[in-house]
Subunit: 464 residues, 2 copies
């Protein structure tokens, strides 16, 4: 595995009594081993089919690659319609591996369609998209595992109508692929009726664990990304997740460190990459951690209100925004730094003889500056006894991103097992869905509408 | 004031015993009034010169508008070099008021230069910028109040060198404006020597409170935004902040509600706009709240480790990422929703007769859908006894954005006064700066370097 984790600054040896003691590993050996076994024993079963995703068959992968080649040649723009787990993988991986201004590059430099991931239903955003793409040269991938997601179906209805008007039905349907559960749901039924290309999502792969399934792979293929390297990285991280030795199993040890930190009052988890390209891998992590661990009851039905709130920051940028709080505020967080050893290109700070200032900066590279600032921030937080650890990638490429995202997934699964909660469900969002159906006048939700409309409200609690 | 705050769901009448009781207002009347007076009495003094920014003189504003007109005509791209408070205002306001894909629009539709706010020193990002802009048609605004910010000066050295090589010195200097403290610091000295246009930042306007000063106004003018409307909104919010009656003073009442919530264990503050254009106003708020309130000591020198960790979410997107945690996780957060009554354009979900599904969605607009989901989420959180309140803007425009940002600033100042801390300093970032200087080999930091290099580290705490 290329990814390394340095967790010195979680320990008492670095941050004193706020840290974790050496004895914690032995004291919790049974808990750790139980979590490891419970996750590994369920691989490929129930909601853990995501563990199998990186071991996709040659023929399934071939179908995806062929789709990608076809779309990449034909499309000026590629649009993912999806939300949550159907979007975050594409955003995280594409923004790590594509040029940071991909959509602004001329076609010959881009060598792939422009990418838009539409993960909201803001009408201004839909209009803005349609201002900059021509549907005639745009290919859409409609991704919803259930095939029932209101936001995604709404977008689909708008887009398919425009495509049919612009191209006629026969051509229009070639511009749509759908990624959904085979044989189930509204979108699958429509795909069969209309004749769209379909990519299946396995029953036991939840949205937030789907980046290595067709949900992620089809967009990556369409963008010409190194899908095989990405899967190879995922398999490396999967293999490491089997290790019994904690120091060979980064996802297991960091799950435990977070679990201990939560017990010590750290209810906040800051993910802070020092690399613009990794900014959205933090969002990917935030969904995974929040939806998986934020649970009201444990597996025994006991009320626990578990969960640690993930938040993202970007180094060095947020040193000028959040680090004051991290250094001096409550002892309520663990900061995870993501470091990159070698950037994909560097730039020297000009040693301009005419400028008689800034001598200590001149001649260093920006890569040296960003990494010096990262080490300095780590040092300052540690000196203030703030818990933190650092994940290091040798460089950003398809393989290391595959490792990183799979590391996040196993870390989450192990932490869920330690907390004894159901990592893979999300019962807490049902109430909001029902209330939305009610407000849109869906049949069968009349009494819910009444409930929403009669929620307590007093005008005396309105200001402005 | 056009902005309204509905705080029903902070109260016991909505969320039961986890809420704030009606009696809290009377019980804390003295505290609230003291905070109000201390902030108002300091307006225009010390670090509260930001209170005066919206009352800029006609002649100062004229200079900024003239600069904006000149640059807007000449520039194909406009680049802000700045970090933290020097960047977040520009990002928040420009992304609210420009087209969501501004840089991808053809020039005639954009009617302003492309915008790049470079608030990091990632070398890949600098290279990516230089791949998509031609420095010959690019104008730069180098913003650092102290004139000493390492990141910004590094960027400046690189850019000025490229400009001189491309255009010659005489032309190059016309492409640079600097925004800094007049008469102080490295950047000011360089500006005088090289002959750059200079915009001054008042001594008592800190970075995170500077969006209504030239720090914000010069970029907004260069982009052709409605600077006067923006300042008008700020003045409206300033006026409201004077009100003694809590319900006429949204920033005061919400500062108090957050203060109470913090006492009740809510150490997390989620800012969740339901509008893509407002996404980065949440980042603006996060800096303000984190750096201002995250303080180790209070004004009496007592150790308090104060602060509430701000984090942002985007509706509806993050309903599929964070709301599970908000609904079922610990009772440790206040969620602030930002609602928009009327979007700047809407789009109807197509009533496609050929698609025999999704009937409850068809014919609604996306604006209706996003707002129904917002109300539904508010309802679901409230039903789960989770503290939340809603800020409503009638629509997004320069005036309401001016109101919103000034509301945030007064809310922060009032909350700081209630916590009895210094809202306007940031002592916690000094240690990291020194360590950075040390690592870059700056003279005078030799012993710090030794300290950093000798920080405790054991290879046994490294995994992977």
């Amino acid at each position: 595995m290329k990814l390394k984790v340095d967790y010195n600054n979680m320990m008492q040896s670095s941050i004193g009594e706020r840290g974790i003691g050496e004895e914690a590993f032995e004291k919790n050996a049974a808990l750790i081993e139980k979590a490891r076994k419970s996750v590994l024993d369920s691989r490929g079963k129930g909601w853990q089919q995501w563990c199998d995703s990186p071991y996709i068959s040659e023929s399934d992968l071939g179908k995806i690659i062929a789709y990608g080649d076809r779309v990449r040649k034909a499309a000026e723009s590629y649009v993912v319609l999806g939300i949550g787990g159907s979007a975050l993988g594409a955003i995280a991986v594409a923004s790590s591996l594509l040029h940071l201004h991909h959509n602004e590059l001329p076609r010959e430099k881009r060598n792939a369609p422009k990418l838009y991931v539409e993960d909201n239903v803001d009408p201004e955003r839909m209009n803005a998209l349609l201002d900059v793409v021509d549907v005639k040269t745009t290919y859409f991938n409609v991704i919803t595992k259930s095939g029932e997601t209101s936001e995604t179906l709404s977008q689909f209805l708008i887009v398919y109508d425009l495509l049919k008007k612009a191209l006629g039905k026969e051509e229009a349907k070639k511009h749509i692929a759908v990624t959904t559960t085979i044989g189930k749901g509204t979108l699958y039924a429509l795909a069969v009726k209309e004749g769209f290309e379909v990519f299946g999502v396995e029953a036991g792969v939840g949205g937030r664990f789907s980046v290595f399934s067709s949900v992620g792979l089809a967009p990556f293929a369409a963008l010409g990304l190194d899908v095989k390297g990405f899967l190879k990285g995922a398999r490396e991280a999967s293999k490491a997740a089997e290790e019994k030795s904690l120091n060979k199993n980064p996802s297991l040890i960091t799950a435990f460190l977070q679990y201990e930190a939560m017990k010590n009052g750290c209810n906040i988890n800051v993910m802070m990459p020092y690399c613009d390209g990794l900014k959205f891998t933090a969002d990917f992590f935030c969904q995974l951690w929040a939806e998986s661990l934020g649970k009201a009851t444990d597996l025994n039905g006991k009320t626990v209100y578990a969960g640690q709130t993930p938040t993202k920051a970007l180094g060095v940028t947020d040193q000028h925004s959040q680090v004051q709080l991290y250094t001096e505020g409550p002892f309520d967080k663990v900061v995870t730094f993501i470091a990159v050893d070698k950037f994909r290109g560097d730039r020297t700070i000009t040693d301009d003889r005419e400028i008689d200032a800034c001598d200590f900066l001149k001649g260093h590279t920006l890569g040296e500056l960003i990494n010096a600032e990262r080490v300095a921030t780590t040092y300052a937080l540690t000196k203030a006894n703030r818990a933190n650890f650092t994940i290091t990638l040798p460089e950003v490429n398809a393989e290391t991103i595959g490792e990183l995202l799979m590391y996040f997934m196993y870390q989450t699964a192990f932490a869920g097992a330690m907390l004894n909660i159901d990592t893979f469900n999300q019962p807490g969002v049902e109430e909001g869905k029902k209330a939305t159906f009610a407000m849109l006048g869906r049949k069968g939700y009349e009494s819910k509408l009444e409930e929403v409309e009669n929620a307590p409200h007093d005008d005396k609690y309105v200001a402005g």
